[in-house]
Structure formats: structure tokens, C-alpha cells
Symmetry: C2
Subunit: 282 residues, 2 copies
């Protein structure tokens, strides 16, 4: 692929910082500009090589870039888009790496000048760690990135953005923002709510008895609360629907337990085990 001349990454934490490192390593960006709100993080981003240059001012940071990446928590996207919009040169491609797409893509299409192209992206990578100090060039390698063009998205911008993610070792899929949000409610947002609720489900006297299984099952509940509030609120309808279906699955399980139906309980467990083992083998 033709490398981007200059990429501005707004929000240079775990994801943004890893993206800077990965773009440089893959030769997909000649120059990376990092934008953030704390000088200390900006210094760290430059010294670890995630950015060649940094700025505390989003509008200044995007000047001269042909790719701009929104990598802050999605709750800050509107403010960032309003700040950078007047400074975007015609032809600039603006992408995001947010975990929900319907609201985010609509907001980008509303606030970015028509002379630019917006492409919604969701690289499914990361961890509960935060900050540029956790960034690594191989964070995206082998993982999946969903790209969500709309009728308004120029096909050449979609193609170039896909090539960029693929240059970082990702497998890309394209789908509508609506389709993305429905699938991600199932595989990510529902598990997050469930893990968080599981932590609430134990009494204080049970706390000393949590084992490694509990720690695994609830791990994502240690994710940042404000970040996840924004993700869940921006996909509230799909998450609520997934939760309601899930409550039904639990009620069926509970009914088998209360009826003493050991064969049914084993069948439910065995089916889930087989399916999980198959998914993890892929």
C-alpha cells in the first residue's frame, strides 16, 4: 500500500499508541503526530516511538495530515470533531477506533466537512490495561478489524483504510454500522455487563473464596467505568435486547436445575463447551 504521508492520532493511549508504533513499524505512515491532553503522556508517546511529534491542541495536530484517527474514549469524539473540523484539508480521511459504530459514524458524517472522507473502524484488540506505557506494535497482529462504510463513504477511502489495517496484520471485515453494533452487543457489550453484574452477585462473606475461574469470568469488569458507560449508552438498544435474550437463557438453565433434569443440564453445558472450543480453535 502507499504509505500515509502524515497520520494524526487523537488520544494516544493503549490503542492509539499501539497504532502509532504499528504504523511506523509497517511503513504505513511516514510520520505520526500524537494528540492528547496531558503533556506527560505526550512526552511518553514520543519517547517510546508511538509518535514522532505531539500536540496538546487537536486543531493544530491535524494540520497537514492525510489520515486522522479518533482514538480517545468515544464520549470525547464530538468535542474532538468540533475542534478539528475547520482544520481538516480537503481529501483527508478521518477514521475512529471506537467500540460502537451507529452513533459514532453518524456524528463523523455530521461534523466532518464533505470534502473529507469518514470511515468507521473497530479494531478488536486491546486489554483492560490503559495508557501509552502499555502500547505495543503487535497489538493488532492476527486480530480482526471491522470497517463500517455507509452509502456516503467513498469506496477508495474504504479500500485504503482496509489496506492500512491489513498492513498491520489484521483481518478486515466490512458491514454496516447497524450490523456491527448488533454483533458487538453479543460478543462484547453483553459479556461486559454480565461480568460486572457477577461481581455484584457475591455477598461480602463469599469474597475470600473466589478462585481463578471467578477471576477470569469477571476480568473485564475491571475496565474503566466511564469508558464502558459511553460504549454501553451508545449501543443501549442492542445491549438491552441482548440482555433480555440472555435472561431467558439463564431462566431455561434455572428451570432445568429446579426440575432436577441432569440430562438437560449436561446437554446445555456440553453444547456450550463444544461451541466455545470450536470458536477458540479458529
Amino acid at each position: 500500500m502507499t504509505p500515509w504521508n502524515q497520520v494524526t492520532i487523537i488520544g494516544i493511549g493503549l490503542i492509539g499508541g499501539s497504532l502509532g508504533l504499528a504504523l511506523k513499524k509497517a511503513g504505513a505512515a511516514r510520520r505520526v503526530v500524537g494528540v492528547g491532553h496531558r503533556q506527560e503522556s505526550m512526552d511518553a508517546a514520543r519517547s517510546c516511538g508511538a509518535a514522532d511529534e505531539t500536540s496538546l491542541d487537536p486543531a493544530a495536530g491535524v494540520r497537514g495530515s492525510d489520515l486522522v484517527v479518533l482514538a480517545t474514549p468515544i464520549g470525547l469524539f464530538r468535542q474532538m470533531l468540533q475542534a478539528i473540523s475547520p482544520s481538516l484539508a480537503p481529501g483527508t480521511v478521518v477514521i475512529d477506533v471506537g467500540s460502537t459504530k451507529v452513533g459514532v459514524v453518524a456524528m463523523m458524517e455530521e461534523l466532518v466537512p464533505e470534502s473529507c472522507a469518514c470511515v468507521g473502524c473497530h479494531p478488536i484488540a486491546g486489554s483492560e490495561q490503559r495508557g501509552v506505557s502499555a502500547a505495543r506494535a503487535d497489538l493488532f497482529r492476527g486480530a480482526v478489524c471491522i470497517v463500517t462504510p455507509t452509502a456516503k463513504t467513498p469506496p477508495d477511502a474504504v479500500a485504503r483504510v482496509q489496506q492500512t489495517w491489513e498492513a498491520l496484520g489484521m483481518v478486515t471485515h466490512t458491514m454496516t454500522p447497524e450490523h456491527h453494533d448488533r454483533l458487538l452487543a453479543e460478543v462484547s457489550h453483553l459479556p461486559h455487563v454480565v461480568a460486572s453484574a457477577l461481581v455484584r452477585a457475591i455477598s461480602g462473606e463469599a469474597e475470600p473464596f473466589v478462585g481463578p475461574g471467578w477471576a477470569d469470568t469477571t476480568r473485564v469488569a475491571s475496565g474503566d467505568a466511564a469508558l464502558w458507560r459511553d460504549i454501553l449508552m451508545s449501543n443501549a438498544g442492542e445491549v438491552a435486547a441482548a440482555l433480555q435474550r440472555f435472561e431467558g437463557v439463564l431462566a431455561a438453565f434455572r428451570s432445568a436445575l429446579m426440575q432436577g433434569d441432569a440430562a438437560k443440564v449436561e446437554a446445555l453445558l456440553a453444547e456450550s463447551k463444544a461451541r466455545r472450543d470450536k470458536i477458540k480453535r479458529k
Copy 2:
């Protein structure tokens, strides 16, 4: 502590095999006899040092032992107890390492001769791995063991069993079998059902998009289905009650989402995060 002269471990897989290795390493057993139903596993148990000697016959295996440990899946406990009972010398201490206690302890007290002592135990350690090949001497170190005496349990047997677990580096707690089963429903059995149900909650087209969070949250669902059927069925009442409470927690979350109550959603997430972080720091 005074070492046991001879310990028979019935079922020498991950837990039983690790126990054999740990007892020998700690000097808590002069001799370990492993009992299982496959010659191949018995050979593996001897060659990795988990047992000094092995037998395919439970009745022969317990002869001459002052401690007998039931470490098979709990669904086999009745059959094993019936097989060994006539061969148990007076004064023998019989313990188990099963994940539920009310039914198991009642069964031990029913089938073990009154001249022996039964002590229900639940070392909270292990993984989704299976077999003596996964056994390791440090599996129990730093973990918690719950010991569940009843009015019938001789206090000196309880004390000696506690000392044995402590010699392996475990922290012991004592409580009634009923109390154990209520707490474990919250920290282990409920999370297992929930993880299993989460696997069922995703549609086929969502499968390519599972990330590391999904893998963590559902990990325990890859556990053995028959083993977990027995655990869940032997604690069905408490698990069903915990599930019903949990469905209520989910419904409250769903209601906050549907009402667009971002502050409530954030408060629920933040409270769970703080609690989990506190529990994991302990």
C-alpha cells in the same frame, strides 16, 4: 505436623495428582498410593512422582492407609465409598476434595464405618486442564481450602486435616457444609452457568468477532460437562436461587440502559470495578 504414614488418593488427575506431589514435597505423607481406572494414567502418576504405588482396585488401594482422599468427579463418590468401605481400618480419616459439600458429606457419613472419621474438604484450586500430566506440586500454594465438619466429625481429625492443607501452603477456613454450598454457588457455580450461557448467547455470524474479553469471560465454559453437571445438580437449590437473584441484577442494569440513565449505568460499572479490584488485591 505428624506426617501421614500412607495416603491413598482415589482419582489421580489434576487435583489428585497435584495433591500427591504436594504431600510428598511437604513431607506430609511418607507414602502415596494412587487409585484410578486406567493403567496408563497410573503409570503416568508413578513416573511423575504423584504416587509411589498405584492400584486399579479401590478396595486394595486403601488397605494400610491412615488417610484416604476422594478426588474423582463427585458423581463417582458413592461407587468409590461403597467399594472401599469394607477395607477401611478403624481410625482411618476419609476426606474428599469435591466442589459441593452438603450431599457429599452426608454420603460419606452414611457409607464410611463409624470407626473412621470423615472430613469434607474443598481446596479452591485447579484449572480447566485435566489429568495427571497437568499436576503440579504448587497447585495449592497460597489458595484457600474450606473444611466442613459436622456435629459428627471428631475435632482431632478436623485439626489434623487442616494442618495437612496448611502444610501445602493453603489458608483454611471451616464452616458447615450448608454454608459452603451457599457461598460456592455465588463465587463458582453461578459464574459457571453464566459463562456457559454467554457462549449460547452469540449468533453464528458473531463468532469471528470474539475478542480477548469474550475469551476470558467464557473460559470456564470449556470445563468438562459431566463433571460440572454433577457439581451443579448436587447444589441445584442454591445455584437456582443465585441465578434468580442474578437475573434481577441484570434486569436492573437493562432498565437503566433502556431509560438512558448514563449516571446509573456508570455507577453500577464503577461499583463493580472497585469491588473487583479490591478483591483481587487481597
